[in-house]
């Protein structure tokens, strides 16, 4: 049995090379700073609005590959493999904004202090009153500046 590698025991009872191997894994979430370079208008909107603290990738998904390669495509036709999510469904906003007592931090008769503004997405502007067409949240709220 060959348990020992040349780096075993260098820092402790383990193989020191493992540290570099783990540190060398690929990054998937590039971080907002990298999106801003190419998407100034979305970034500027967001900075001014109530979603300022939401990282782009919370909504659009991990964008490291997109950020590295989308720049090669001048047209609007990104290959599928580089497309990111565009979460347009009501359900998506509900993840954070749906009424839930666990989101209400101080509750008494007159004050409701919550970490995030809540609505009951099941009756907050579900459909147009005249046409009965269903609404998406983003029909009224700009996701980058809600």
């Amino acid at each position: 049995m060959h348990l020992s590698s040349s780096s075993f025991g260098k820092y402790g009872h383990y193989r020191a090379f493992a540290l570099n191997e783990i540190a060398g894994k690929k990054i998937k979430y590039a971080g907002e700073a990298s999106c801003v370079v190419c998407h100034k208008s979305e970034a500027n909107h967001k900075k001014k609005g109530d979603h300022a603290r939401l990282s782009c990738e919370i909504c659009h998904g991990a964008g490291s590959r997109h950020a590295s390669y989308a720049g090669n495509f001048k047209s609007k036709n990104l290959p599928d493999s580089l497309l990111l999510n565009k979460p347009v469904e009501r359900q998506f906003c509900a993840r954070c904004h749906q009424d839930n007592l666990a989101r209400v931090k101080i509750k008494c008769d007159t004050i409701n202090f919550s970490a995030v503004k809540l609505v009951n997405t099941k009756d907050h502007n579900v459909a147009d009153e005249d046409t009965r067409l269903p609404y998406k949240c983003i029909d009224c709220h700009n996701p980058h500046m809600p």
């Binding site: 049995m1 348990l3 009872h13 493992a18 540190a23 749906q98 007592l101």
Partner: protein, 255 residues
């Protein structure tokens, strides 16, 4: 590498481990339950020593942390494997406690108890506590899991033999056996990101700033500031794990 029929050794190893754990618990019972007191032996030197703060008052249970962790770290998508997940605790008016974590909170939460029956409810994000006296690393028979110089508890996939000792030993349920690789797997505090100066994925993707990552050595860090400004507690302090994950507003019901 062949390691079969080592069961006898393993069993005596486990016995020794249990004995040690018992002794350690007894000594800490004498100390006050103070978050600072349960972090022992901060290593000296210039190197960062990472810790985690979670503000339960700010968590809205969106599950972005759990979701981004799975993606960033290629954690299997099946609902039993998590490095980072969220639980909703609901304490009912009749005193009973309900704990829910549908798919680890990955798809968000819906309140399952009507308002009138709820005494209080809150979310608790969970992940590896990166303990400085971690029971999980102590039980590893082959030196495959260890604490890095930065205080991050890691697994060497090439050395792990999949014996599951560490999975049993973790009091916080933070390890699992990877179904394909057949080795133990756990949170690395996104070691590959923090080594490049980035936040771990679950911190970078928290919309409310409920998660704070930082260097416990750096007395000016956001994390140390957070510990100063809040009354923080670790999970299961009586186990003397030296956990470095500090919760603000942790209710006694949380296990």
């Amino acid at each position: 590498m062949k390691l079969i029929n080592k069961n006898a050794n393993r069993r005596s190893f486990l016995k020794a481990g249990l004995f040690l754990a018992g002794g350690a618990a007894a000594t800490t019972l004498l100390k006050p339950y103070n978050a600072i007191a349960v972090v022992p032996e901060e290593p000296k030197g210039e190197k960062p020593w990472y810790g985690i703060g979670i503000d339960i008052d700010k968590c809205i249970g969106c599950g972005s942390c759990a979701k981004s962790c799975k993606i960033e770290n290629d954690v299997p998508m099946e609902p039993f494997f998590f490095r980072s997940w969220v639980e909703q605790y609901t304490i009912l008016n009749d005193g009973s406690v309900k704990v829910e974590s549908p798919n680890g909170g990955l798809d968000g939460f819906t309140q399952s108890v009507p308002d009138k029956d709820v005494f209080k409810s809150f979310f608790v994000p969970k992940m590896c506590n990166h303990c400085s006296k971690s029971p999980c690393t102590q039980v590893c028979p082959v030196g495959a899991t260890f604490e890095s110089p930065e205080g991050v508890v890691l697994i060497d996939e090439k050395y792990c033999i999949g014996c599951r000792y560490c999975i049993q030993a973790c009091p916080y349920g933070c390890r699992y056996l990877h179904p394909k690789k057949k080795v133990a797997d756990k949170c690395t505090l996104c070691y590959h990101r923090i080594k490049k100066g980035m936040q771990p994925a679950c911190f970078a993707n928290c919309p409310t700033g409920a998660r704070i990552f930082g260097d416990l050595h750096d007395k000016k860090s956001e994390l140390v500031r957070f510990l100063k400004d809040h009354t923080c507690m670790v999970l299961k302090p009586h186990m003397n794990t030296g956990a470095k994950l500090f919760y603000n507003s942790l209710s006694a019901e949380v296990r």
